[in-house]
Amino acid sequence: MESSKVDMFMMQNGKFFESHYLMQIREDLLALDDSKWAMIQTLQFKDPTIILIVSLLVGSLGVDRFMLGDTGLGIGKLLTCGGLGIWTIIDWFSIMGVTREKNLAKFHIALM
């Protein structure tokens, strides 16, 4: 794919991924066929900041996990008052990383 398109994608979506994966993503996109550009561009990624806000506000009800598509973990969090409150606090710090990992997984699925 043309590097100008790839750079545009990176500028738009760079914040949704872990920084150490960015180079890999760039190389993957450069090696990608041009016909997949339209599909890649329409991918919707979850914003780590939004998920963090949700986690801070209603994390003890598991809403952040539900939003990420982890229904099972969400129910686990909901049924246990946010893992006795401990899991909620752990998630305040880890949920942004988890979101970025999920975004990467989604990107990889789209590439295949």
């Binding site: 909901l78 049924l79 006795l84 409150g85």
Partner: protein, 139 residues
């Protein structure tokens, strides 16, 4: 998105052990006649309102004493929790010993079924109804 097998086993293992320790602690507090003053629910401490799962410890303790009516009125989720606490450890150990993947498979399947709007919406409405009831009755 489904969890990896090792992660699922680890999370369930930790959850089961913590649940039993917490239950034992609460039971001891109950036996010695003290009121369990440790209130871990962040939601309840911040807002003063109970969260949908507040009272499930008390509910489980009532079930263990055979007082099902009281348990149901405090939190019906206690029945689900006690079922999970009985089944999951056995299933987990059976899966690890037998090197099978039945638990992970069932988890993935349950997750898919529960994500469907036709199942999820009634469940959430039931939970919401229980929550409103709990708030008005100061559980």
């Amino acid at each position: 998105m489904s969890l990896g097998q090792l992660r699922l086993h680890r999370i369930l293992g930790i959850a089961c052990v913590t649940a039993y320790i917490w239950l034992l602690y609460s039971y001891q507090m109950l036996q010695s006649g003290q009121i369990n003053s440790v209130e871990l629910c962040i939601f309840k401490r911040i807002t003063g309102l109970p969260c949908p799962s507040c009272g499930s410890t008390r509910s489980v303790l009532f079930i263990l004493q055979g007082n099902f009516d009281e348990a149901f009125s405090i939190n019906p989720l206690g029945f689900a929790i006690i079922a999970l606490m009985t089944i999951l450890p056995i299933w987990l150990i059976a899966d690890i010993v037998g090197k099978k993947k039945t638990l992970q498979y069932t988890y993935g399947k349950a997750e898919r079924i529960l994500s469907k709007p036709i199942v999820a919406i009634p469940c959430l409405m039931l939970l919401g109804a229980h929550w409103i009831w709990a708030i008005f009755n100061h559980i």
